[in-house]
Amino acid sequence: MTTGITLEIDEKRYPAEGGHDAVVALRGLRARIAPNEFCVLFGPSGCGKSTLLNIIAGIDPSFSGNIRFDGDCEPRIGYVFQAPRLLPWRTVRENLELVLRRDADPAVVEALLGEVGLAEAAGFYPSRLSGGMARRAALARAFAIDPDLLLLDEPFVSLDAAAAVRLRALLLRLVTTRPATVLFVTHDAAEAVTLADRILLLTPSPGRVLAELPISIPRDQRCDHHTIAKLSGQLAGLGARPPPH
């Protein structure tokens, strides 16, 4: 079951350490993400986007506030990090098998590897993969647990433009066949408007939601440069407006 999320983060602070002052990464962040929604978190570098994903994923428990998932049981969360974070001492296939739930069907691994085009590379160690292949492996791993919620932290950054376009298309295909609520972090406006159902625009640090931009144009009708430019313009306009008080 895909899940909706309610985010109520009062404050996330990194304590002072090694000569650096304490940093408030997030403050007063409120948002509601609907089940099955593809939500893009858009904002400048260092506005706490990755921090927010880590909090939602349960990696970082030290914050004040609340993360509430719909439903009673803990959602299954698939996480695609900025770096692929594959285990270098396990083959691609083993990296996927490792995260499977105990009751999962092991056949899902081969199926996913086929879908992301890594069937031939299943026995490789990650050091033999190209950057794009490693991203696809990380993507497949996140889907291997049949996630209710998918977190993606600038997953296609540092790829060349053509590869990034292919991987975005792959992500959309996967989400279509395996529905999940998606939270996708990026600072690339074109990427944001290509993928999102709704964009949440975050302020510079300490991050909170400045504005939101729902996009109702179907995805297959916003692949052209004109539409992307228009939507990116709207997004930039939202960011330029003084925050309402």
Partner: protein
């Protein structure tokens, strides 16, 4: 495969050459105090079949095994704990430094005095001499653990056992291997000293007896037998293990 057997052949040639040089030098010197390769190998055979060599070898290897296992297990646990918890590290770092610099001989003598000339005291002395290097190595390995992979393991809810087996241990295994290999090299030398000081059997004890009898032939024969076993462990156990564990580096 062909290259491997060629390497083995060259090692064999090198060994034969060493034996030949040894034998020739011994004949040149012509002294009872410098027996040749032939005489020593004869004594080795003789002691294996008729003498107590196997019994002594057994006793020594038993001590090596127990001390090695104890030092590795305790050292790994302490090292990981000190690497993870800064307070423990601050508290015990100076103890480790002290133990590192305490000569094995002193540890052995003290333990013999306090606990008597027992096997337990002997093995404890050897293990304690090795312990601090294991601690230091594993502490280093723990500090170098990848935080990103730890985050990955947490977000995918891998659980303690799978995280340990698939995420943590593979990162620590190079450190464990270094600690094992240097540990074996250190322990098998210390164990002879400890036996010489206060045990009634073992290679170290026999070395002392042959020293007092000036029986150089048997002295070298016993030492060689022990070295051969240790080298066999190194080549047949530790090296293949290392190759297997580090296979993914390609």
């Amino acid at each position: 495969m062909a290259r491997l057997s060629a390497a083995v052949a060259w090692r064999g040639v090198s060994l034969l050459l060493l034996l030949a040089v040894w034998e020739a030098a011994s004949r040149l010197v012509h002294s009872r105090l410098f027996p040749g390769a032939g005489a020593v190998l004869g004594a080795l055979f003789d002691e294996t079949v008729h003498g107590g060599l196997l019994h002594d070898l057994n006793a020594t290897l038993f001590r090596v095994a127990i001390a090695f296992a104890a030092a590795m297990i305790a050292g790994t646990v302490i090292g990981i704990a000190m690497g993870l918890v800064r307070a423990l590290d601050t508290l015990f770092d100076s103890w480790i430094v002290l133990l590192l610099n305490l000569p094995a001989l002193v540890i052995a003598v003290l333990l013999y005095i306090w606990f008597g000339l027992t096997d337990a005291a002997a093995i404890t002395a050897v293990a304690l001499s090795k312990l601090p290097t294991v601690v230091v190595t594993l502490r280093e390995g723990t500090r170098a653990l990848d935080r990103d992979l730890a985050g990955m393991a947490r977000s995918f809810r891998l659980g303690a056992m799978r995280t340990l087996r698939h995420v943590i241990l593979p990162q620590l295994s190079p450190y464990l291997l270094v600690a094992s290999r240097s540990g074996l090299a250190l322990i098998w030398k210390i164990v002879l000293v400890v036996e010489l000081l206060g045990r009634p059997d073992g290679i170290g004890y026999e070395i002392q007896v042959f020293f007092q009898l000036f029986d150089i032939k048997r002295l070298i024969a016993y030492a060689l037998a022990f070295v051969a076993v240790v080298l066999a462990i190194e080549w047949c156990v530790l090296l293949p293990l290392e190759r297997r564990v580090l296979r993914w580096r390609g």
